[in-house]
Symmetry: C2
């Protein structure tokens, strides 16, 4: 038994330890390159604080880190010395962002499928809850130098998915990625951009406004520490995060050996759906997709094909789905948004926002969360309570 005063001290110490571990993970996002499985093993073996301690101990006391080459270790040590996690955390928080770690309520547990290549943590910008949003998400990726056909298909697939209540995840690049984000935003939908650089870095520069809009209306996700810049390998490794977060990856246009195919293959390896949109075989930009379609990928021609494929039974029979969480456990803002939905029929997001007294962007974020949780459904541009929620309310009303 601890002494009376000791309980508080113990809890405080536990809290401090958790914060130290979080700060160490934040630091490690600057030290370790994405997808480094060896570092993932150390992290699992020693924990983040201990790993940082071993990387920052005085040069004489060379730390025991199994399997590390001297050269790689030297690089890690230089970066570890320079890391200022508290500064990063404070700066991102000041800009309205946050840092999430495995074990946090907002951590998308499907990332654990990446094993030792799981991100150390994720830097986020945007209001919505990442975990809830990506529960019902699909990646739409493809060529940067896409054709008008590719841009059209990305936008119309993303819009169609958004209208069916699916969150569209992509990489904020030019071409297909940008069209997918814009298609989702244009349909009043939810979209997540996973960057290959720091959450505060705008890349590509030409997507400054688009990335800003995603941060306002959706979510920006980065594995790399604030200020870090993209490199070719970071683009490739970012793709595994897109694949792991989503239920499936749709490749719209891709040349042979393109990064989008890496995402698609990562998706297949993770047991997610790999999906391809065919195009003219006379177009080199469809060659990669056709290669996928001859292998593991499923051919789709529109958003309803995708939704049918990745959707659970609930998508085919919406009234069979009910909330996965009691209403009482919703946070106050989500509860207010839910209360603002009409008891019968559907309402536009703007009207729900006005009724709830919540900003439109915040409302949209909450509606997609409530969708993932099974409380509401989206039909075109309108939202309504699911049949189960209505039945539940009626039953309660009848019972009192």
């Amino acid at each position: 038994m601890k002494p009376d005063g000791g309980a508080d001290t113990g809890a405080a110490a536990e809290g401090r330890a958790a914060e130290d571990e979080r700060a160490a993970r934040a630091a490690l996002t600057r030290v370790i390159e994405p997808g480094d499985r060896r570092a993932g093993q150390w992290l699992r073996q020693f924990g983040a604080r201990e790993l940082m301690a071993r990387l920052t101990c005085p040069p004489g006391d060379e730390p025991a880190l199994p399997g590390a080459t001297a050269k790689r270790l030297a690089g890690y040590r230089i970066r570890a010395e320079a890391a200022e996690p508290h500064g990063d955390l404070a700066a991102v928080a000041a800009a309205g962002g946050r840092f999430i770690c495995p074990g946090d309520a907002e951590w998308p547990t499907q990332l654990d499928d990446l094993g030792d290549a799981r991100p150390i943590g994720l830097w986020l910008r945007g209001r919505p809850d990442l975990r809830k949003w990506v529960l019902r998400s699909v990646a739409v990726v493809g060529a940067r130098a896409c054709t008008p056909y590719g841009a059209h298909m990305a936008a119309s697939l993303a819009a169609g998915l958004a209208e069916r209540g699916w969150v569209v995840v992509s990489g904020a690049a030019f071409g297909v990625d940008g069209s997918a984000h814009r298609g989702a935003l244009g349909a009043g939908g939810a979209t997540v951009a996973v960057l290959a650089c720091g959450v505060d870095v705008v890349y590509p520069r030409g997507h400054c406004e688009l990335i800003g809009r995603i941060a306002e209306q959706g979510l920006i996700v980065a594995e790399l520490a604030p200020g870090d810049h993209p490199t070719p390998s970071r683009f490739i490794l970012r793709n595994r995060v897109i694949a792991a977060l989503t239920r499936g990856t749709v490749v719209v246009e891709a040349e042979y050996r393109s990064g989008s195919l890496v995402t698609a293959r990562a998706a297949a390896q993770l047991g997610r759906f790999t999906i391809g949109v065919p195009g003219p075989v006379t177009s080199g930009l469809s060659a990669g997709v056709h290669e996928l379609l001859r292998g593991e990928a499923v051919l789709v021609t529109d958003a309803s094909d995708v939704a049918e494929l990745v959707g659970d039974m609930g998508d085919l029979a919406p009234d069979r789905r009910g909330p996965v969480l009691p209403k009482d456990l919703l946070d106050p803002v989500s509860a207010r948004v839910l209360e603002a939905l009409p008891a019968r029929g559907a309402a536009a997001a703007e009207r729900i926002a006005r009724t709830a007294g919540v900003t439109p962007d915040e409302t949209l974020g909450r509606l997609y969360e409530l969708h993932s949780l099974g409380f509401v459904e989206r039909h075109g541009s309108h939202w309504q309570l699911t049949q189960r929620v209505i039945q539940g309310s009626n039953a309660r009303r009848g019972g009192t």
Copy 2:
């Protein structure tokens, strides 16, 4: 033991019986609609002569034909009375054509896979041996009202297949069919048109010249009696013959519920390859192909994909293939064409024709037959002996 003179009489009688059976089959092509399984059963049960006899006996002696409705039987009887098989056979022969039946050396035995829906016989125009030609054949079919993309793909696939020594089979229709025939002819290749009308009927009229060229350089095949005209059901039923003759059916462009899909599905049911060329999902003319590709069909993007798919091992490793027939059993013209090939290296068809003293069209027909039999290979616009044939000759030369 038969008496001495009786042997001759017996052989002559046997020959007459075979000719009567052939004439009865020729008559039945005018009486029975293509693909009539019930009639196929009668044919199997009674033979052609007996079936014709039962259909033409005096009205009082109603024939016993199990399962025939009175109405259908009346129709058959009217047509059977009007049939003039000897006139048809003579007219087609006079125009350089012929009629082949199951059991004939030229009968493509793969048609037997159609069971009771097997054609009763086939009317042919053109020099080449149908059976040998279709041993290595692929169907290229698709929409009549195809797009420029469809026309381009049909022509380039057919040309590529022709250059690889494959015979291109199609239906002589406008659009994809016509482009496929033209692509094969343009590449100095072999092509077979299976009509939904009599072998002497030009349909569509606009393809008068094309059909004439196919009759000169390739083969025209018809299940219907001379002079018969196409009907919607005859188009549909013609497709089963295209599917059964070939190793696989490539659908280039097809709308939902189009006749080309019928051919493709017939191919799948017969254990042939069903193959699709994808296109833009924004094109209704690719919708049917994409539907196939989501099911049983294999996606291809060029002729080498098709050849790899339908080809036997020999196509991947040409020097492992050898003739399936001893050289001595070749007919004199084929033997002369074979002798005209250079012992080493390749030669153009025209040069081979000059050396052999055979017309170019005849030579081409023989070369494709020799290809099917494993004696020669086509490489681009040139032909050469297969490795096995060269080795066989060398071995013989070494042995003498």
